[in-house]
Amino acid sequence: MNKLVRFFLMIAIASAVLLYAISSLNTSQGYSGANTLTIYNWGDYIDEDLIKQFEKETGIKVIYETFDSNEAMLTKIEQGGTTYDIAIPSEYMIDKMRHEDLLIPLDHSKLPNLKNIDKRFMDLPFDKENKYSVPYFWGTVGIVYNPKMLHGKKITSWNDLWDPSLRNEILLIDGAREVIGMGLNSLGYSLNDTKKAHLIEAKEKLDTLTPNVKAIVGDEIKMLLANEEASVGLVWSGDASEIMSANEDLDYVVPKEGSNLWFDNMVIPKTAKNIEGAHKFINFMLDPKVAAKNTEYVGYSTPNKQALKHMPKEIVEDERFYPSPELTEKLEVYKNLGKKNLAYYNELFLQFKMHRK
């Protein structure tokens, strides 16, 4: 009995010591003061030096937390019990959060640096007049391909994927809007098309693609493409830059017919405690030099026009990630189609998935 008591006492003392260590570590980092800012972002989606710079400039201490999917983030914020001052969801989620009344409107007078953002990326359908959100990074949906495995053949259009020589070579991401969208785009229709006839036409066109499709996969598409398991893949540009840094033989293209344009945006959720600090942080991130540094670290495309001047030429002039104005004209942001239309997209996608070769 005594031994047991002694052992438990030892554990209790050890935990007390550890707790003390944690709290003193926290204070030495300044996390315990009242003037803190809690940021909720994707994993590895900011240059940590910038957080230190922000802390130094404003005296606000930043608590930085990460999430792995829009849905996980939504759950935490919806449930309350958290105090996130800033979150960085994707555009379709912002639309949803806005409708569910989970966001606080931004005070544009506190965001003078908002003028640095390229006009093309402002006032978009998911958030008119940028009442709730400010763009953080953007990207496209496109095709990663391996010129070496295709014997130098180039891909420039969605219709190139239907080439019989690509038999059993294509990987698709498992997303209804991305894949149906590819079918719509290849026919020259809008990504947000809801006409039943157009959708069925797109699905029938996709059915003829099935002999070329090797598999429809999730996140593992990055690994499969980098390991040359397939020579062509339909991916987001963010994934593309990651795949290409893992395997330099690969190339990325946004098809000339146009494609999807996606955004991750900074918002202030309802749970925010430090709204003043949140505005300061958003404004800080919009600073051209800061945005440039962050972009070089993260590797996605920045919507900050002024920041481009502070970045190396070979990044800014890479048309794969900063497409020409003629092409961006053709890029479309997903609109919220409503439950019924979305269900129809999903049903068509399911039918496509079941279609036999």
């Binding site: 009995m1 005594n2 031994k3 047991l4 052992f7 438990f8 554990i11 209790a12 050890a14 935990s15 550890l18 707790l19 260590a21 944690i22 570590l25 926290n26 030495s28 980092q29 996390y31 809690t38 994707w42 994993g43 590895d44 989606y45 608590i63 930085y64 937390e65 990460t66 999430f67 792995d68 996980a72 759950t75 935490k76 449930q79 309350g80 019990g81 958290t82 105090t83 996140d219 990651e242």
Partner: protein
Amino acid sequence: MDKKITPLSKLFLLIIFFILYAPIFFLVIFSFNSGDTMYDFKGFSLDWYRELFQDTRLLIIVLNTIVVALLSALISTIIGVLGALAIHQAKKRQTKNSLLSLNNVLIVSPDVIIGASFLILFTMAGIKLGFYSVLLSHIAFSIPIVVLMVLPKLMEMSPTLIDAARDLGASRWNVLTKVIIPFITPGIFAGFFMALTYSFDDFAVTFFVTGNGFSTLSVEIYSLARRGISLNINALSALLFLFTTLLVVIYYFITQRNKVNGMGVRKR
């Protein structure tokens, strides 16, 4: 134990252990890589460990994980032992069985469901997500394990032992502290260490109930891994592997000492 171990079964055992340990060693070896990918080994360096110890945020998370594991194991052991005693004392066979089944349901139910229900409970009760919500949920899912580790020891104990103690004039308290607890001590230790490891590697439940800047390793590594794993995670995992090995060794010595001291009632 007279049966001879055939070379074939030895080989089988060797292969199994190799399969189990190979990925861990692979990971540990690459934590000493001077390059920054898992693809090729460029040379020996301790850079990743240096980087690890400079990252205060990650260090705080490691300490958080350990504190939650220790405290939740401690508290759940105390509650679990009391629970096991109560179940053991139950007079009716039926009550005993139903209590035990209720306990087992909690062990087999999926972590995701436990996590989600805790999230709902905490937010309804207005408890801020963070250290306490994680600690409370870890205590909660560890208790049934402790009960399960302690109960067999109680069943094993002969009732005559207690009768004898009572006949010799021991009070109820004396019986508990001088007879029952010493007898079940190995079970208590086993429960404690099981709870410790459960809390240590739990992901699903913690994922739901963390928040407000509090995070544990499993959750942190998961969100880091989404954007590609940096090798300092390897370094961290290597250290954790060492730490858990140490725990196992400690546990081994404790059980060994109990065996040497003899089974059943000891002097103190």
